[in-house]
Symmetry: C2
Protein backbone atom coordinates (compact mmCIF):
# COMPACT_ATOMS: atom_id res chain seq x y z
CA UNK A 1 0.00 0.00 0.00
CA UNK A 2 1.43 3.37 -0.98
CA UNK A 3 1.75 5.95 1.73
CA UNK A 4 -1.14 7.89 0.19
CA UNK A 5 -3.44 4.87 0.33
CA UNK A 6 -2.29 4.11 3.89
CA UNK A 7 -2.98 7.67 4.98
CA UNK A 8 -6.44 7.58 3.39
CA UNK A 9 -7.22 4.30 5.14
CA UNK A 10 -6.13 5.72 8.48
CA UNK A 11 -8.09 8.92 7.92
CA UNK A 12 -11.23 6.86 7.22
CA UNK A 13 -10.63 4.79 10.35
CA UNK A 14 -10.38 8.00 12.37
CA UNK A 15 -13.58 9.30 10.79
CA UNK A 16 -15.45 6.05 11.46
CA UNK A 17 -14.39 6.19 15.10
CA UNK A 18 -15.25 9.86 15.57
CA UNK A 19 -18.58 9.33 13.81
CA UNK A 20 -19.67 6.64 16.26
CA UNK A 21 -18.62 8.66 19.30
CA UNK A 22 -20.11 11.98 18.22
CA UNK A 23 -23.39 10.40 17.10
CA UNK A 24 -23.69 8.83 20.54
CA UNK A 25 -23.85 12.34 21.99
CA UNK A 26 -25.68 14.24 19.25
CA UNK A 27 -29.19 15.36 20.23
CA UNK A 28 -28.92 13.78 23.65
CA UNK A 29 -31.24 15.61 25.99
CA UNK A 30 -28.58 15.80 28.72
CA UNK A 31 -25.81 16.97 26.41
CA UNK A 32 -23.22 18.42 28.75
CA UNK A 33 -21.59 21.65 27.73
CA UNK A 34 -19.23 23.85 29.55
CA UNK A 35 -17.81 27.25 28.95
CA UNK A 36 -14.31 26.88 27.60
CA UNK A 37 -13.52 30.52 27.13
CA UNK A 38 -14.85 31.62 30.51
CA UNK A 39 -16.88 34.25 28.73
CA UNK A 40 -19.17 34.39 25.75
CA UNK A 41 -20.51 31.16 24.38
CA UNK A 42 -17.93 28.59 23.37
CA UNK A 43 -19.30 25.19 24.30
CA UNK A 44 -17.17 22.13 24.50
CA UNK A 45 -18.92 18.85 24.64
CA UNK A 46 -17.71 15.63 26.11
CA UNK A 47 -18.13 14.18 22.63
CA UNK A 48 -15.47 16.56 21.34
CA UNK A 49 -12.89 15.32 23.81
CA UNK A 50 -13.81 11.66 23.60
CA UNK A 51 -13.62 11.71 19.82
CA UNK A 52 -10.23 13.40 19.78
CA UNK A 53 -8.82 11.03 22.39
CA UNK A 54 -10.02 8.03 20.38
CA UNK A 55 -8.52 9.41 17.16
CA UNK A 56 -5.22 10.10 18.92
CA UNK A 57 -5.13 6.55 20.29
CA UNK A 58 -5.45 5.18 16.76
CA UNK A 59 -2.71 7.48 15.50
CA UNK A 60 -0.41 6.52 18.38
CA UNK A 61 -0.81 2.92 17.27
CA UNK A 62 -0.80 3.26 13.48
CA UNK A 63 1.18 6.45 12.88
CA UNK A 64 3.51 6.88 15.90
CA UNK A 65 6.02 9.01 13.99
CA UNK A 66 3.45 11.60 12.88
CA UNK A 67 2.72 14.77 14.81
CA UNK A 68 -0.84 15.54 15.91
CA UNK A 69 -2.54 18.91 16.29
CA UNK A 70 -6.03 18.73 17.74
CA UNK A 71 -8.56 21.35 18.62
CA UNK A 72 -9.14 19.96 22.08
CA UNK A 73 -5.83 18.47 23.19
CA UNK A 74 -3.22 20.59 21.46
CA UNK A 75 0.02 19.59 19.73
CA UNK A 76 1.98 16.34 20.03
CA UNK A 77 5.30 16.41 18.17
CA UNK A 78 6.42 13.78 15.63
CA UNK A 79 9.44 12.94 13.48
CA UNK A 80 7.92 12.03 10.09
CA UNK A 81 7.27 15.54 8.86
CA UNK A 82 3.53 14.81 8.70
CA UNK A 83 1.01 16.38 11.07
CA UNK A 84 -2.54 15.15 11.60
CA UNK A 85 -4.80 18.15 12.09
CA UNK A 86 -8.00 17.18 13.92
CA UNK A 87 -11.20 18.98 14.79
CA UNK A 88 -13.47 16.34 16.28
CA UNK A 89 -16.55 18.58 16.15
CA UNK A 90 -16.27 21.62 13.92
CA UNK A 91 -19.42 23.62 14.58
CA UNK A 92 -20.14 22.98 18.25
CA UNK A 93 -22.96 25.55 18.18
CA UNK A 94 -24.69 23.57 15.47
CA UNK A 95 -23.98 20.37 17.38
CA UNK A 96 -25.56 21.56 20.61
CA UNK A 97 -28.65 22.81 18.79
CA UNK A 98 -29.25 19.66 16.80
CA UNK A 99 -28.37 21.00 13.35
CA UNK A 100 -26.48 18.55 11.11
CA UNK A 101 -24.05 21.14 9.73
CA UNK A 102 -21.22 20.31 12.14
CA UNK A 103 -18.57 17.86 11.06
CA UNK A 104 -15.53 15.84 11.96
CA UNK A 105 -12.47 17.39 10.28
CA UNK A 106 -9.35 15.34 9.68
CA UNK A 107 -6.34 16.49 7.68
CA UNK A 108 -2.75 15.49 7.01
CA UNK A 109 -0.31 18.38 6.61
CA UNK A 110 3.02 17.79 4.88
CA UNK A 111 4.64 20.86 6.40
CA UNK A 112 3.71 22.98 3.39
CA UNK A 113 -0.04 22.59 3.70
CA UNK A 114 -2.73 19.93 3.80
CA UNK A 115 -2.31 17.00 1.40
CA UNK A 116 -5.33 15.01 2.58
CA UNK A 117 -8.62 16.05 4.11
CA UNK A 118 -11.85 14.49 5.33
CA UNK A 119 -15.10 16.30 6.17
CA UNK A 120 -17.45 13.81 7.80
CA UNK A 121 -21.08 14.56 8.73
CA UNK A 122 -22.19 11.69 10.95
CA UNK A 123 -25.95 12.45 11.08
CA UNK A 124 -26.43 12.59 7.31
CA UNK A 125 -23.87 9.81 6.96
CA UNK A 126 -21.87 11.76 4.41
CA UNK A 127 -18.11 11.69 4.03
CA UNK A 128 -16.16 14.04 1.74
CA UNK A 129 -12.50 13.13 1.08
CA UNK A 130 -9.80 14.73 -1.03
CA UNK A 131 -6.11 14.02 -1.50
CA UNK A 132 -3.54 11.78 -3.22
CA UNK A 133 -5.50 11.82 -6.46
CA UNK A 134 -8.82 10.99 -4.83
CA UNK A 135 -11.85 13.29 -4.50
CA UNK A 136 -15.12 11.67 -3.52
CA UNK A 137 -18.20 11.76 -1.35
CA UNK A 138 -19.76 8.66 0.13
CA UNK A 139 -23.12 7.98 1.75
CA UNK A 140 -24.80 4.68 2.53
CA UNK A 141 -21.98 2.84 0.78
CA UNK A 142 -22.46 4.80 -2.46
CA UNK A 143 -19.44 6.77 -3.63
CA UNK A 144 -19.50 9.64 -6.14
CA UNK A 145 -16.76 11.83 -7.52
CA UNK A 146 -16.38 15.36 -6.15
CA UNK A 147 -15.93 18.27 -8.55
CA UNK A 148 -16.49 21.97 -8.03
CA UNK A 149 -18.71 23.72 -10.55
CA UNK A 150 -17.88 26.48 -12.97
CA UNK A 151 -19.00 29.98 -12.05
CA UNK A 152 -17.14 32.55 -14.12
CA UNK A 153 -19.00 35.60 -12.80
CA UNK A 154 -19.39 36.79 -9.22
CA UNK A 155 -22.93 37.86 -10.06
CA UNK A 156 -23.90 34.21 -10.61
CA UNK A 157 -22.35 32.95 -7.39
CA UNK A 158 -24.00 31.34 -4.36
CA UNK A 159 -22.07 32.42 -1.25
CA UNK A 160 -22.05 30.82 2.19
CA UNK A 161 -20.67 31.94 5.52
CA UNK A 162 -21.46 30.79 9.04
CA UNK A 163 -22.10 34.05 10.87
CA UNK A 164 -23.70 37.17 9.39
CA UNK A 165 -21.41 39.36 11.52
CA UNK A 166 -18.11 37.86 10.58
CA UNK A 167 -14.84 39.13 11.99
CA UNK A 168 -13.86 42.74 12.64
CA UNK A 169 -15.79 45.75 11.30
CA UNK A 170 -13.33 46.00 8.39
CA UNK A 171 -13.70 42.30 7.64
CA UNK A 172 -17.47 42.56 7.78
CA UNK A 173 -17.41 45.55 5.41
CA UNK A 174 -15.26 43.62 2.96
CA UNK A 175 -17.50 40.58 3.19
CA UNK A 176 -20.59 42.71 2.63
CA UNK A 177 -19.08 44.15 -0.55
CA UNK A 178 -18.83 40.64 -1.95
CA UNK A 179 -22.28 39.75 -0.61
CA UNK A 180 -23.77 42.71 -2.46
CA UNK A 181 -22.38 41.38 -5.74
CA UNK A 182 -23.42 37.72 -5.60
CA UNK A 183 -26.68 36.06 -6.61
CA UNK A 184 -27.48 34.53 -3.24
CA UNK A 185 -25.96 34.57 0.25
CA UNK A 186 -26.77 31.97 2.87
CA UNK A 187 -25.66 31.60 6.48
CA UNK A 188 -25.06 29.03 9.14
CA UNK A 189 -23.59 25.86 7.64
CA UNK A 190 -20.22 25.60 9.40
CA UNK A 191 -17.85 23.15 7.67
CA UNK A 192 -20.71 21.65 5.68
CA UNK A 193 -20.57 24.71 3.42
CA UNK A 194 -17.06 23.72 2.31
CA UNK A 195 -18.32 20.23 1.53
CA UNK A 196 -21.13 21.66 -0.61
CA UNK A 197 -18.58 23.81 -2.42
CA UNK A 198 -16.39 20.78 -3.14
CA UNK A 199 -19.47 18.92 -4.41
CA UNK A 200 -20.36 21.71 -6.84
CA UNK A 201 -23.53 23.02 -5.17
CA UNK A 202 -22.23 26.41 -4.02
CA UNK A 203 -19.58 28.74 -5.42
CA UNK A 204 -18.00 30.70 -2.58
CA UNK A 205 -17.35 30.34 1.14
CA UNK A 206 -15.87 33.33 2.94
CA UNK A 207 -14.95 33.34 6.62
CA UNK A 208 -12.61 35.09 9.03
CA UNK A 209 -11.02 34.24 12.36
CA UNK A 210 -10.54 30.57 11.57
CA UNK A 211 -8.11 28.28 13.31
CA UNK A 212 -5.74 25.94 11.52
CA UNK A 213 -7.89 22.91 12.35
CA UNK A 214 -10.99 24.65 10.91
CA UNK A 215 -9.60 24.98 7.41
CA UNK A 216 -6.92 22.30 6.85
CA UNK A 217 -9.36 19.51 5.95
CA UNK A 218 -11.78 21.67 3.91
CA UNK A 219 -8.85 23.08 1.93
CA UNK A 220 -7.57 19.64 0.99
CA UNK A 221 -11.04 18.46 -0.06
CA UNK A 222 -11.78 21.58 -2.10
CA UNK A 223 -8.40 21.60 -3.86
CA UNK A 224 -8.77 17.93 -4.74
CA UNK A 225 -12.19 18.74 -6.23
CA UNK A 226 -10.77 21.50 -8.44
CA UNK A 227 -11.40 24.55 -6.26
CA UNK A 228 -9.20 27.30 -4.90
CA UNK A 229 -8.60 28.22 -1.23
CA UNK A 230 -6.58 31.20 -0.10
CA UNK A 231 -6.59 33.96 2.47
CA UNK A 232 -8.04 37.36 1.53
CA UNK A 233 -4.75 38.38 -0.15
CA UNK A 234 -4.39 35.25 -2.24
CA UNK A 235 -1.82 33.74 0.10
CA UNK A 236 -1.97 30.25 1.68
CA UNK A 237 -4.86 29.92 4.13
CA UNK A 238 -4.13 26.62 5.78
CA UNK A 239 -2.89 28.17 9.01
CA UNK A 240 -6.25 29.87 9.54
CA UNK A 241 -7.41 33.47 9.73
CA UNK A 242 -9.33 34.87 6.76
CA UNK A 243 -10.43 32.31 4.21
CA UNK A 244 -11.76 32.65 0.67
CA UNK A 245 -12.76 29.37 -0.96
CA UNK A 246 -14.14 29.17 -4.49
CA UNK A 247 -15.12 26.44 -6.90
CA UNK A 248 -14.03 28.40 -9.96
CA UNK A 249 -10.69 30.26 -10.16
CA UNK A 250 -12.38 33.11 -12.05
CA UNK A 251 -14.90 33.61 -9.27
CA UNK A 252 -12.08 33.42 -6.72
CA UNK A 253 -10.19 36.17 -8.55
CA UNK A 254 -13.21 38.47 -8.60
CA UNK A 255 -13.91 38.01 -4.89
CA UNK A 256 -10.21 38.44 -4.12
CA UNK A 257 -10.14 41.78 -5.91
CA UNK A 258 -12.67 43.03 -3.35
CA UNK A 259 -11.39 41.28 -0.24
CA UNK A 260 -7.73 42.16 -0.85
CA UNK A 261 -8.60 45.80 -0.13
CA UNK A 262 -9.53 44.95 3.46
CA UNK A 263 -6.69 46.17 5.72
CA UNK A 264 -4.53 43.48 7.28
CA UNK A 265 -5.77 42.20 10.63
CA UNK A 266 -4.36 44.34 13.42
CA UNK A 267 -4.14 47.42 11.23
CA UNK A 268 -7.88 48.10 10.93
Amino acid sequence: MSDGKALIATACQLADTARAITLGHFRRRDLATENKAGQGFDPVTQADREAEEAMRAILAERRPADAVLGEELGHSPGSSGLTWVLDPIDGTRAFISGAPSWGVLIAVDSGEGPVLGVIDQPWTGERFLGGFGEAWTERCGRREGLATRRCATLGDAVLYTTYPHIGSPAELAGFNKVRDRVRLTRYGLDCYAYALLAAGHVDLVIEAGLQRYDIAAPQAVIEAAGGVVSDWRGRPAHLGGRVLAAGDPACHAQALEILSKVPEAGTD
Copy 2:
Protein backbone atom coordinates in the same frame (compact mmCIF):
# COMPACT_ATOMS: atom_id res chain seq x y z
CA MET B 1 -60.09 4.00 10.97
CA SER B 2 -60.95 7.27 12.71
CA ASP B 3 -60.77 10.40 10.64
CA GLY B 4 -57.61 11.44 12.52
CA LYS B 5 -55.87 8.18 11.66
CA ALA B 6 -57.07 8.43 8.06
CA LEU B 7 -55.76 11.98 7.76
CA ILE B 8 -52.40 10.94 9.22
CA ALA B 9 -52.17 8.05 6.77
CA THR B 10 -52.94 10.34 3.85
CA ALA B 11 -50.45 12.94 5.07
CA CYS B 12 -47.75 10.29 5.23
CA GLN B 13 -48.61 9.09 1.74
CA LEU B 14 -48.27 12.66 0.47
CA ALA B 15 -44.92 13.01 2.25
CA ASP B 16 -43.63 9.73 0.83
CA THR B 17 -44.57 10.84 -2.66
CA ALA B 18 -43.09 14.32 -2.32
CA ARG B 19 -39.93 12.86 -0.81
CA ALA B 20 -39.27 10.62 -3.79
CA ILE B 21 -39.91 13.41 -6.29
CA THR B 22 -37.89 16.11 -4.54
CA LEU B 23 -34.95 13.77 -3.87
CA GLY B 24 -34.87 12.97 -7.56
CA HIS B 25 -34.06 16.63 -8.23
CA PHE B 26 -31.99 17.55 -5.16
CA ARG B 27 -28.32 18.25 -5.93
CA ARG B 28 -28.79 17.55 -9.61
CA ARG B 29 -26.15 19.41 -11.55
CA ASP B 30 -28.69 20.64 -14.10
CA LEU B 31 -31.25 21.75 -11.52
CA ALA B 32 -33.53 24.09 -13.44
CA THR B 33 -34.57 27.25 -11.70
CA GLU B 34 -36.47 30.19 -12.92
CA ASN B 35 -37.28 33.55 -11.53
CA LYS B 36 -40.84 33.49 -10.24
CA ALA B 37 -40.99 37.03 -8.96
CA GLY B 38 -39.42 38.57 -12.04
CA GLN B 39 -37.02 40.39 -9.76
CA GLY B 40 -34.81 39.49 -6.86
CA PHE B 41 -34.07 35.85 -6.25
CA ASP B 42 -37.08 33.57 -5.82
CA PRO B 43 -36.28 30.27 -7.49
CA VAL B 44 -38.89 27.71 -8.30
CA THR B 45 -37.74 24.31 -9.28
CA GLN B 46 -39.46 21.77 -11.38
CA ALA B 47 -39.37 19.54 -8.32
CA ASP B 48 -41.61 22.01 -6.50
CA ARG B 49 -44.32 21.80 -9.10
CA GLU B 50 -44.03 18.09 -9.75
CA ALA B 51 -44.29 17.32 -6.05
CA GLU B 52 -47.34 19.52 -5.56
CA GLU B 53 -49.08 18.06 -8.61
CA ALA B 54 -48.45 14.54 -7.32
CA MET B 55 -49.77 15.39 -3.86
CA ARG B 56 -52.86 17.03 -5.35
CA ALA B 57 -53.52 13.94 -7.47
CA ILE B 58 -53.51 11.78 -4.33
CA LEU B 59 -55.84 14.18 -2.54
CA ALA B 60 -58.22 14.28 -5.50
CA GLU B 61 -58.46 10.51 -5.24
CA ARG B 62 -58.49 10.01 -1.46
CA ARG B 63 -59.93 13.28 -0.15
CA PRO B 64 -62.08 14.76 -2.94
CA ALA B 65 -64.22 16.81 -0.55
CA ASP B 66 -61.26 18.61 1.06
CA ALA B 67 -59.96 21.96 -0.13
CA VAL B 68 -56.29 22.33 -1.12
CA LEU B 69 -54.03 25.36 -0.79
CA GLY B 70 -50.61 24.89 -2.32
CA GLU B 71 -47.62 27.18 -2.64
CA GLU B 72 -47.24 26.53 -6.34
CA LEU B 73 -50.74 25.92 -7.67
CA GLY B 74 -52.98 28.01 -5.46
CA HIS B 75 -56.37 27.23 -3.94
CA SER B 76 -58.84 24.51 -4.89
CA PRO B 77 -62.14 24.73 -3.00
CA GLY B 78 -63.75 21.86 -1.08
CA SER B 79 -66.91 21.07 0.87
CA SER B 80 -65.64 19.18 3.95
CA GLY B 81 -64.42 22.17 5.92
CA LEU B 82 -60.87 20.78 5.84
CA THR B 83 -58.07 22.38 3.83
CA TRP B 84 -54.78 20.70 2.96
CA VAL B 85 -52.02 23.30 3.10
CA LEU B 86 -49.01 22.23 1.04
CA ASP B 87 -45.53 23.61 0.51
CA PRO B 88 -43.72 21.01 -1.56
CA ILE B 89 -40.30 22.60 -1.01
CA ASP B 90 -40.10 25.06 1.85
CA GLY B 91 -36.63 26.59 1.58
CA THR B 92 -35.98 26.66 -2.15
CA ARG B 93 -32.77 28.66 -1.58
CA ALA B 94 -31.44 25.85 0.60
CA PHE B 95 -32.65 23.32 -1.96
CA ILE B 96 -30.83 24.89 -4.89
CA SER B 97 -27.60 25.18 -2.90
CA GLY B 98 -27.59 21.60 -1.65
CA ALA B 99 -28.30 22.28 2.04
CA PRO B 100 -30.62 19.76 3.71
CA SER B 101 -32.60 22.35 5.69
CA TRP B 102 -35.48 22.58 3.20
CA GLY B 103 -38.52 20.43 3.77
CA VAL B 104 -41.86 19.22 2.49
CA LEU B 105 -44.64 20.86 4.54
CA ILE B 106 -48.08 19.29 4.74
CA ALA B 107 -50.88 20.47 7.02
CA VAL B 108 -54.60 19.99 7.51
CA ASP B 109 -56.51 23.08 8.58
CA SER B 110 -59.93 22.71 10.20
CA GLY B 111 -60.94 26.27 9.44
CA GLU B 112 -59.74 27.46 12.83
CA GLY B 113 -56.10 26.53 12.36
CA PRO B 114 -53.91 23.53 11.61
CA VAL B 115 -54.86 20.27 13.32
CA LEU B 116 -52.22 18.09 11.68
CA GLY B 117 -48.77 18.86 10.35
CA VAL B 118 -45.83 17.08 8.75
CA ILE B 119 -42.32 18.44 8.26
CA ASP B 120 -40.38 16.03 6.06
CA GLN B 121 -36.67 16.32 5.26
CA PRO B 122 -36.03 13.87 2.44
CA TRP B 123 -32.20 13.99 2.40
CA THR B 124 -31.76 13.20 6.10
CA GLY B 125 -34.77 10.90 5.87
CA GLU B 126 -36.47 12.55 8.83
CA ARG B 127 -40.19 13.04 9.27
CA PHE B 128 -41.76 15.12 12.05
CA LEU B 129 -45.51 14.73 12.57
CA GLY B 130 -47.94 16.25 15.05
CA GLY B 131 -51.70 16.11 15.44
CA PHE B 132 -54.66 14.00 16.65
CA GLY B 133 -52.76 13.00 19.78
CA GLU B 134 -49.61 11.98 17.94
CA ALA B 135 -46.24 13.75 18.07
CA TRP B 136 -43.28 11.85 16.69
CA THR B 137 -40.18 11.91 14.53
CA GLU B 138 -39.13 8.98 12.38
CA ARG B 139 -35.92 8.13 10.58
CA CYS B 140 -34.80 4.84 9.06
CA GLY B 141 -37.92 3.17 10.42
CA ARG B 142 -37.18 4.26 13.97
CA ARG B 143 -39.86 6.40 15.62
CA GLU B 144 -39.35 8.59 18.69
CA GLY B 145 -41.69 10.87 20.59
CA LEU B 146 -41.44 14.60 20.03
CA ALA B 147 -41.43 16.96 23.01
CA THR B 148 -40.24 20.52 23.31
CA ARG B 149 -37.80 21.25 26.11
CA ARG B 150 -38.17 23.50 29.12
CA CYS B 151 -36.45 26.88 28.95
CA ALA B 152 -37.89 29.21 31.57
CA THR B 153 -35.52 32.11 30.93
CA LEU B 154 -34.85 33.96 27.69
CA GLY B 155 -31.19 34.19 28.70
CA ASP B 156 -30.88 30.41 28.39
CA ALA B 157 -32.56 30.17 25.01
CA VAL B 158 -31.16 29.03 21.67
CA LEU B 159 -32.82 31.09 18.92
CA TYR B 160 -33.04 30.32 15.21
CA THR B 161 -34.13 32.35 12.23
CA THR B 162 -33.49 31.90 8.52
CA TYR B 163 -32.27 35.34 7.45
CA PRO B 164 -30.18 37.73 9.56
CA HIS B 165 -32.01 40.70 8.03
CA ILE B 166 -35.55 39.62 8.67
CA GLY B 167 -38.53 41.70 7.65
CA SER B 168 -38.87 45.46 7.82
CA PRO B 169 -36.46 47.73 9.75
CA ALA B 170 -38.90 47.74 12.70
CA GLU B 171 -39.19 43.96 12.60
CA LEU B 172 -35.42 43.61 12.43
CA ALA B 173 -35.01 45.95 15.41
CA GLY B 174 -37.50 43.91 17.42
CA PHE B 175 -35.83 40.67 16.47
CA ASN B 176 -32.43 42.06 17.42
CA LYS B 177 -33.72 42.99 20.89
CA VAL B 178 -34.60 39.36 21.48
CA ARG B 179 -31.34 38.22 19.90
CA ASP B 180 -29.39 40.38 22.33
CA ARG B 181 -31.03 38.63 25.28
CA VAL B 182 -30.65 34.96 24.32
CA ARG B 183 -27.73 32.60 24.86
CA LEU B 184 -27.16 31.74 21.21
CA THR B 185 -28.58 32.81 17.85
CA ARG B 186 -28.18 30.74 14.69
CA TYR B 187 -29.25 31.38 11.11
CA GLY B 188 -30.24 29.61 7.96
CA LEU B 189 -32.29 26.49 8.74
CA ASP B 190 -35.62 27.23 7.05
CA CYS B 191 -38.40 24.88 8.26
CA TYR B 192 -35.88 22.51 9.80
CA ALA B 193 -35.54 24.97 12.69
CA TYR B 194 -39.19 24.38 13.63
CA ALA B 195 -38.56 20.63 13.58
CA LEU B 196 -35.59 21.06 15.92
CA LEU B 197 -37.77 23.15 18.23
CA ALA B 198 -40.46 20.45 18.29
CA ALA B 199 -37.77 17.87 19.06
CA GLY B 200 -36.45 19.86 22.02
CA HIS B 201 -33.08 20.94 20.63
CA VAL B 202 -33.74 24.67 20.30
CA ASP B 203 -35.98 27.05 22.22
CA LEU B 204 -37.14 29.82 19.91
CA VAL B 205 -37.77 30.42 16.22
CA ILE B 206 -38.69 33.95 15.16
CA GLU B 207 -39.53 34.94 11.60
CA ALA B 208 -41.47 37.56 9.67
CA GLY B 209 -43.12 37.75 6.27
CA LEU B 210 -44.24 34.12 6.24
CA GLN B 211 -47.00 32.72 4.07
CA ARG B 212 -49.77 30.49 5.36
CA TYR B 213 -48.15 27.38 3.83
CA ASP B 214 -44.84 28.22 5.55
CA ILE B 215 -46.21 28.01 9.08
CA ALA B 216 -49.31 25.76 9.09
CA ALA B 217 -47.43 22.46 9.30
CA PRO B 218 -44.71 23.68 11.70
CA GLN B 219 -47.39 25.09 14.01
CA ALA B 220 -49.27 21.78 14.21
CA VAL B 221 -46.06 19.84 14.88
CA ILE B 222 -44.84 22.26 17.55
CA GLU B 223 -48.18 22.46 19.34
CA ALA B 224 -48.48 18.68 19.37
CA ALA B 225 -44.99 18.54 20.93
CA GLY B 226 -45.95 20.96 23.72
CA GLY B 227 -44.77 24.24 22.29
CA VAL B 228 -46.44 27.57 21.60
CA VAL B 229 -46.80 29.36 18.25
CA SER B 230 -48.27 32.84 17.84
CA ASP B 231 -47.73 36.04 15.95
CA TRP B 232 -45.72 38.85 17.58
CA ARG B 233 -48.82 40.02 19.51
CA GLY B 234 -49.76 36.63 20.87
CA ARG B 235 -52.52 36.12 18.32
CA PRO B 236 -52.93 33.10 16.01
CA ALA B 237 -50.10 32.83 13.48
CA HIS B 238 -51.33 30.15 11.14
CA LEU B 239 -52.24 32.58 8.37
CA GLY B 240 -48.62 33.74 8.16
CA GLY B 241 -46.89 37.03 8.74
CA ARG B 242 -44.79 37.38 11.90
CA VAL B 243 -44.19 34.19 13.81
CA LEU B 244 -42.88 33.50 17.31
CA ALA B 245 -42.50 29.81 18.15
CA ALA B 246 -41.24 28.61 21.51
CA GLY B 247 -40.78 25.29 23.23
CA ASP B 248 -41.60 26.68 26.67
CA PRO B 249 -44.56 29.00 27.34
CA ALA B 250 -42.43 31.02 29.79
CA CYS B 251 -39.83 31.68 27.13
CA HIS B 252 -42.58 32.55 24.66
CA ALA B 253 -44.01 35.10 27.09
CA GLN B 254 -40.63 36.79 27.59
CA ALA B 255 -39.95 37.04 23.87
CA LEU B 256 -43.51 38.26 23.28
CA GLU B 257 -43.04 41.08 25.76
CA ILE B 258 -40.28 42.42 23.50
CA LEU B 259 -41.79 41.65 20.09
CA SER B 260 -45.25 42.99 20.95
CA LYS B 261 -43.74 46.50 21.05
CA VAL B 262 -42.92 46.31 17.35
CA PRO B 263 -45.46 48.46 15.46
CA GLU B 264 -48.01 46.60 13.39
CA ALA B 265 -46.96 45.91 9.82
CA GLY B 266 -47.93 48.80 7.60
CA THR B 267 -47.65 51.34 10.42
CA ASP B 268 -43.85 51.26 10.79
